[in-house]
């Protein structure tokens, strides 16, 4: 079955969750997929519109108190096996909003994160590096 695993690892589908982000990292995620210069489709990735189709989850934003329940609900809807990537410093440590009354803390209190990509926002090439790392982890989980 390793042939099938080798084949399947070439088609990871990405899904973005915005957990209260300022949209800076979301704009960077859009540029890694859509503009010709940093084309993420070479790695076989594709942005999908619904969590049910996703393999790699990209989370941006500190987990604000308002959106926490909904993010956890959407996260549960993503079928296994999945890899979680925290994009930007906000999900990793709270970023500039650390110790604020409105955020529920870094994301790894509630969700198992696999790859971190620091930066505010991270460079598109750094995001592609992180996604490549996530694809390697996903291949092992298949």
């Amino acid at each position: 079955m390793s042939f099938i695993t080798n084949v399947s690892k070439q088609s990871p589908w990405l899904y973005r969750i915005n957990a209260g982000s300022c949209n800076g990292c979301d704009v960077e995620l859009a540029t890694t997929a859509l503009i010709p210069r940093y084309d993420v489709e070479r790695l076989g990735c594709q942005y999908c519109g619904t969590p049910k189709h996703a393999d790699i989850v990209l989370i941006t934003g500190p987990l604000t108190a308002r959106v926490k329940e909904k993010v956890l609900q959407v996260y549960k809807e993503i079928p296994a096996p999945k890899v979680t990537v925290a994009v930007g410093i906000c999900p990793i440590s709270g970023g500039v909003f650390r110790d604020s009354y409105a955020i529920e803390g870094p994301i790894d209190k509630y969700i198992n994160v696999d790859v971190n990509i620091p930066g505010c926002p991270p460079r598109p090439q750094a995001i592609i590096e992180g996604i490549a790392m996530a694809i390697e982890i996903w291949k092992e989980r298949l």
Partner: protein, 325 residues
């Protein structure tokens, strides 16, 4: 909270693919065509695209994921729908003649059966949307219904025009046998080069984007604004079946277009090559160029568009045929 799909159902799905070589060949060709299309679109946008075999990887990967059924959805219907859609397309492949390579016998089916079989994937998609138990699915259901109403009109008019033209030349008023149509064209020259048939050709060309989900008419499915519309709650092998169904529908529609308008007179191996070439040319010119360059229409704009020009072309084509004969 969610239930998983049985592996027995998975085996039932995969069995026809292996047992019927025609469907297998059509599926491989369809996926290759899709791969070439994605690379072409990427090159037209100055990007390097995915590798050529990417659609194969996608489907194989989908077979390995978990398939979830939402709580509000009727489980048997939810999981039976992709099976129904894929089986209808497997049948439809057997009905379309590939000139020179494959000729179905007359009692196996004719144009009317093919017309109904072509409508099944759209209906399956609609039912999938409404059986999802989510608002996004319901929106997808209503949009798919609108666009289906829009494009079925021109399709019917085109088929009736071609059938009448062939029937008149044979003495009866109308004939729905695909073999008769193909043979008539092989003797008297293709309809593609006959100026009286050009409105019908144009109407068929404009019906194709809405049927296959090509921008600017890919409104119901795979749209990021409605979370993929009818397919939003599908995952795993059920979703793979939907992708297989849409790939085979592409091949059926293209092969039908070629059989209706420009079958050649070649036979044997050369005929197969020419068929593949015609399909690819037709498909890539329309789909890739359109998809790389235009955005997406709103549902009401698309609906009105189909009621204006393609319908008009279809009616004009029909009138021309009847007046000529």
């Amino acid at each position: 909270m969610f239930e998983m799909m049985n592996t027995l159902e998975l085996k039932v799905i995969l069995a026809p693919l292996i047992l019927l070589p025609a469907t297998f060949g059509a599926l491989i060709f369809g996926l290759l065509l899709k791969g070439v299309d994605r690379i072409l679109i990427a090159r037209l946008q100055r990007r390097i695209g995915p590798p050529l075999l990417q659609p194969f990887f996608d489907i194989i990967k989908l077979m390995q994921k978990q398939s979830m059924v939402p709580i509000g959805a009727p489980r048997k219907l939810f999981l039976a729908l992709p099976l129904l859609g894929a089986c209808s397309m497997f049948l439809a492949i057997g009905l379309v003649p590939i000139p020179g390579v494959y000729e179905p016998s007359a009692q196996f089916g004719d144009l009317l059966v093919l017309l109904y079989l072509l409508a099944i994937p759209a209906i399956v998609l609609m039912l999938a949307g409404s059986a999802s138990g989510s608002t996004f699915g319901a929106i997808g259901f209503s949009r798919e219904m609108s666009i289906m109403l829009a494009y079925e009109g021109p399709l019917l008019l085109v088929i009736v025009s071609v059938a009448i033209k062939t029937g008149l030349s044979q003495g009866q008023f109308i004939t729905f046998s695909l073999m008769d149509i193909v043979q008539y064209q092989q003797l008297n020259g293709s309809f593609l080069f006959d100026p009286w048939m050009w409105p019908a050709v144009l109407a068929y060309l404009s019906f194709i984007p809405a049927n296959l989900g090509i921008p600017p008419f890919d409104i119901p499915e795979a749209e990021s604004e409605v979370l993929e519309g009818p397919l939003c709650e599908y995952s795993g092998p059920a979703l793979a079946l939907f992708k297989i169904m849409s790939t085979m529908k592409t091949i059926v529609v293209l092969a039908l277009g070629i059989a209706l308008f420009c079958p050649g007179t070649n036979t044997g191996m050369w005929a197969a090559v020419i068929f593949v070439f015609k399909c690819s040319l037709f498909f890539l010119l329309t789909k890739s160029l359109l998809r790389a360059s235009v955005g997406r229409m709103r549902i009401d704009q698309a609906f009105l568009f189909y009621f204006k020009w393609p319908e008009l072309l279809g009616v004009v084509g029909l009138l021309l045929i009847v007046l000529q004969g």
